[in-house]
């Protein structure tokens, strides 16, 4: 197999795993409910896996709220992810999960997700600055939706990152919707990437349904960052296929039946065109099995006890 074949397979493996989990959770939540909000990433698996694939383990990730694809692709196990979702002590946040969880694993470079949209920007740029100060070879990827791209924190953090040429890649998942708000009615620019000019670094639009294309664009941006040439913004065009959160009835949505044919392509299908059935079928099966086994393990793990609520405010 060529390197490219290997790469496609590796990306496909994560895309398939994310998809398996997305579908599993969809059913699980329908049957059991969910405390808080679960924001499904269905349809965005390709870009999540493709982009994160371009990072090293030592690179830092600030993920968005749309699903688990980021953390999984960065190396977090399903068992810990599910444990977080279920509020088990075996999750990454020691039982403080449950509801809209905030996966974190410093050893894997997974550094969290701002509950207040846009708070990732200064945090991520700060992490990049830290790497620069320490002379460490690390790149920071900050994921965000096109809705969050309106926050002034993007402007401030990106401006300073641009001036200091910090090793950051801003990854915008433009899925067309911010809850009920369609992008084209809420943006003064055609693309989020158009705004990168204001920060003095490149903004690149890429087909978000093509994981390999996303990986290529991301790799270039990561290279740039690693080489000291500063930040980039990558805007992956995708589409939110389900509600904002699982259970959202989307009565506000007016694009039903007229989904953009490019943006609504299934990223799994797009990748499969590069593979044979003998290649992806075992991966798909393994993914389903992995998800089920991991979920069972997570379910069996101990629930967080009341003491969890009262610790971790302070480092002693």
């Amino acid at each position: 197999m060529t390197d490219t074949d290997n790469l496609v397979l590796e990306i496909y493996r994560n895309v398939a795993r994310i998809r398996a989990a997305e579908l599993f959770l969809q059913t699980y939540i329908e049957e059991h409910g969910f405390g808080g909000f679960w924001h499904p990433g269905l349809g965005q698996e390709g870009l999540q896996a493709g982009a994160v694939q371009a990072l090293r383990r030592s690179d830092y990730l600030f993920q968005a709220h749309r699903g688990l694809g980021y953390a999984l692709s960065k190396g977090l196990s399903f068992e810990r992810i599910f444990a977080d979702l279920l509020g088990k002590t075996t999750g990454t946040v020691g039982g403080k999960g449950g509801g809209t969880v905030h996966f974190v694993d410093p050893a894997l470079g997974i550094l969290g997700q701002g509950g207040t949209l846009g708070s990732n920007f200064p945090l991520g740029v700060g992490a990049a600055l830290s790497a620069q100060i320490l002379g460490e070879d690390r790149v920071v990827a900050i994921f965000f939706g096109e809705g969050a791209a309106a926050r002034g924190t993007l402007y401030e953090a990106a401006l300073q990152a641009g001036v200091w040429k910090l090793p950051v890649v801003f990854v915008c998942e433009n899925n067309g919707w911010a809850i009920s708000a369609p992008f084209e009615r809420h943006s003064p620019t055609k693309n989020v990437a158009d705004r990168a000019a204001a920060f003095g670094f490149p903004g690149i639009v890429v087909d978000g349904q093509d994981a390999v294309a996303v990986h290529a664009a991301m790799s270039e941006a990561v290279e740039r960052a690693r080489g000291g040439q500063g930040p980039s913004l990558i805007e992956a065009m995708t589409l939110r296929l389900r509600g904002h959160y699982e259970g959202d009835r989307q009565r506000y949505r007016d694009d039903e039946g007229a989904l953009d044919p490019v943006r609504s392509r299934d990223p799994v299908d797009v990748l499969r065109t590069r593979l044979d059935a003998e290649q992806y079928e075992p991966i798909d099966r393994a993914a389903d099995e992995e998800v089920e086994a991991a979920f069972a393990l997570a379910l069996a793990a101990p629930d967080a006890g009341p003491e969890v609520a009262f610790k971790d405010v302070w480092a002693e």
Binding site: F34, G35, G36, F37, G87, V93, G95, K96, G97, G98, G99, T100, V101, H102, G114, G115, T116, L117, G118, G147, A148, A150, R151, G152, A178, I179, S180, A181, R185, H186, S187, R251, Y252, D303, A304, P306, V308, A309, F310, V313
Partner: protein, 335 residues
């Protein structure tokens, strides 16, 4: 207690519907009133509070914004200075701090700074408190963090009727008002006066339950929990008075003094963390003004000094439960 014009006719509705009603009535009454916020239009708000308002009042007066909290509040301040009455929504009260400068340095101060030449009749609606599994950055009760910025009126409606009546007063007030809706109360039902002239005045506490042994001062979701605790205590002959200040600024010290003079024992109950919470202000003021009427300290029952855990079960552990209120009241009563 309330400056109700006609309470004769009421209708049962939820706290969320009562807010919706107030918005609709005030927008009909006064053309200068308008709204902006995220998802308030076609979606009717993430908590459904603004449903139907876009349809009735159109896009000129009901505006969906981008995710631009500094503009939502700062723009409201600018619009309020220039002849309109903005009633803006932040999706979660926790986002008040994203617009901290606009809330604390603009809305609160710009009238004073300019010698009264500017007025800022804006209302910022901000849903606060626990609602289940939304975590530390979406569950806070921020009232205490606004209380040290003179110039802001701070409103904490605890019932559907108050939600309607206080919001109407807020919209009619010539000062900036932070209107803190409790997310955990949105679905709670109650009788609400239908009269369009029904308002609830600021600075008038409501005695939610009369009692002779002990006064509980509670706000927002803690009013209901305190009333429940009071009912349990009544079974043991402990007669609790529950007072809801409704607004922290202005603050009705008179009603509280009357109650304290009667009971001589006071507890303050709120959901926000104890340290630095509004209960400190209330307790300090009561002991300052009524020290020699007190049989014992003003006791504060409040949230733990932790952020709110994400976990939908654990989150309840860090805010006062009915049992905790009941238990503390028993102890205070036994003094």
């Amino acid at each position: 207690m309330s400056t109700t014009v006609t309470e004769a006719q009421t209708e049962e509705m939820t706290y969320a519907q009562a807010i919706n009603r107030a918005l609709a009535e005030e927008m009909r009454r006064d053309d200068r009133v308008w709204m902006m916020g995220q998802d308030i239009g076609a979606m009717g708000g993430v908590f459904g509070v603004t449903r139907g308002l876009l349809e009735e009042f159109g896009e000129r007066r009901v505006r969906d914004t981008a995710i631009v909290e500094t503009f939502i509040v700062g723009g409201a301040a600018g619009a309020a200075m220039t002849g309109t009455i903005p009633v803006v929504e932040l999706q979660f009260a926790d986002f008040l701090f994203i617009a901290g400068d606009e809330v604390l340095n603009k809305l609160a101060k710009w009238r004073y700074m300019h010698g009264g030449q500017l007025e800022l009749p804006a209302v910022v609606r901000a849903p606060m408190g626990l609602v289940g599994g939304v975590g530390a950055e979406h569950s806070q009760c921020p009232e205490a963090m606004l209380l040290n910025a003179p110039g802001l009126k701070i409103v904490l409606p605890a019932t559907p009727a108050d939600a309607k009546g206080l919001l109407k007063t807020a919209i009619r007030d010539r000062n900036p008002v932070i209107f803190l809706e409790h997310k955990g109360l949105y679905r709670v039902k109650g009788e609400v006066p239908v009269d369009e002239d029904f308002t609830v005045a600021f600075g008038q506490a409501a005695v939610r339950r009369e009692g002779n042994d002990l006064t509980i001062i509670a706000t927002a979701m803690m009013v209901g929990r305190s009333l429940e605790a009071a009912e349990r205590l009544a079974l043991d002959g402990i007669d609790v008075e529950v007072v809801d200040p409704r607004t922290l600024v202005p603050f009705d010290m008179e009603t509280i003094a009357t109650s304290v003079e009667k009971t001589s024992k006071v507890m303050v109950v709120h959901e926000a963390p104890k340290t630095g919470g509004a209960g400190g202000e209330i307790a300090a003021r009561i002991q300052e003004e009524l020290f020699f009427h007190l049989d014992g300290p003003v006791v504060r029952i409040a949230g733990a000094d932790t952020p709110i855990p994400q976990h939908p079960v654990l989150e309840q552990l860090v805010i006062p439960s009915v049992e905790a209120i009941e238990q503390a009241a028993r102890e205070l009563n036994a003094l």
